[in-house]
Subunit: 219 residues, 2 copies
Amino acid sequence: MPDKSFLNPTLVVDIVLFTIEDGDLKVLLINRDGDPFKGFEALPGGYLLAGETTKTAAERVLKEKAGVSDIYIEQLYTFDELNRDPRGPVFSVTYLALVPPGLNPEEQGTQHPKWFSVKKLPKLGFDHKAIIDYAKERLQGKIEYTTIAFGTLPKLFTLTQVQQVYEAILEKEIDKRNFRKKIDQLGFLKETKQTLSGMRQRPAKLYTLGAKSKTIKLF
Amino acid sequence: MPDKSFLNPTLVVDIVLFTIEDGDLKVLLINRDGDPFKGFEALPGGYLLAGETTKTAAERVLKEKAGVSDIYIEQLYTFDELNRDPRGPVFSVTYLALVPPGLNPEEQGTQHPKWFSVKKLPKLGFDHKAIIDYAKERLQGKIEYTTIAFGTLPKLFTLTQVQQVYEAILEKEIDKRNFRKKIDQLGFLKETKQTLSGMRQRPAKLYTLGAKSKTIKLF
DNA sequence: GTAATTAGTGTACTAATAACACTATATCAT
DNA sequence: ATGATATAGTGTTATTAGTACACTAATTAC
């Protein structure tokens, strides 16, 4: 066991919760009501409780602060710059999480979290800007060879919605026919008999994510 | 700051140091001379010292236990199962590191580390088997789109050596002409005027890694 | 019933990948 | 010296994947 010359930093978790809204990748942030970085926005996060792993703690924080559970979550990176918190060495085990759109976190959480487009982020406390950038890179990387993108979609979705997710995350336009051709030949989507009608246009077929869909080579 | 109901686990670093020897991916392990897991092999690792980040600590441990420095190293994952250490909650921030072959760690380190092929690992303590598996997956993934493989090669190397590294890491054979064609069209290797002679065959040209070589799309 | 809006579809060209075998140049043995 | 051995080095063809591009279909709104 470590003696006095060893360092045992405080450990926290911080979560980068993304969603796609209006074709834009958005991240959930909470305005800090105390020092340090009072008045700045910051990622939802917190300390570990006894008996918690970092993942359990991250899931609890998401439930408490954003009212979400049972969503896609994966460990991102451990940020450990010694001066990342002015109070002393606080290492942050960070998580990347995804929710479908339509969630109104302001009504759910206790600290009034809000969605911000990653394209115009406000002033952020700590190293949270770097954490969000890293999370975005991870998401952009993994969308190419996993089905992670479907974490931002409801259980039933249209092909246009899928394409919009890819376009928002990759920040580029994709040709509709080529996109559908590739989705089709990968064969991990299951067509349902339902359609999405009520729009002022032709109804779109609804799909679900099939079984064999974790590490297929995508784009 | 956390009060008594918060958990502040002990933090350690563990390093998965790989090399390629005889066409095989090998990992450096140290036989444990104390409990827990006395007599089992384990990854080199240790506690943080005051003023260290996890990366600094990992580099120090590598220097102390394997006698290596200035090598490729990247953070891998933070393992935090509550029962991964029988003594209590000990979270491990793990690193993936690479060295060129030819290093004899047994003569360098104080605790007689040895190379083991990842294909036939001995009994390992803690969750170190899972950590090595994860490191291997990361390496296999990153070799496809980065130049990480060159971390296991000396500054000057032949194309055959490069191919052997790819074959060892990906655990499959690659066609020589197709391999060289792709390496050539990616254009991040610089031919030198030196050759590797003294073998009982035609001398091979020696190459170095060029500048623009971090995130090129490879295989 | 006509305008507006998004859903849904195929073909031709280009680029990347995969399969495949021989010649070149050194050392070694005699 | 010369022939055997061992690895270095090199092109072509066939297949597969990726890219560019424009019209018809089905619904709702007026």
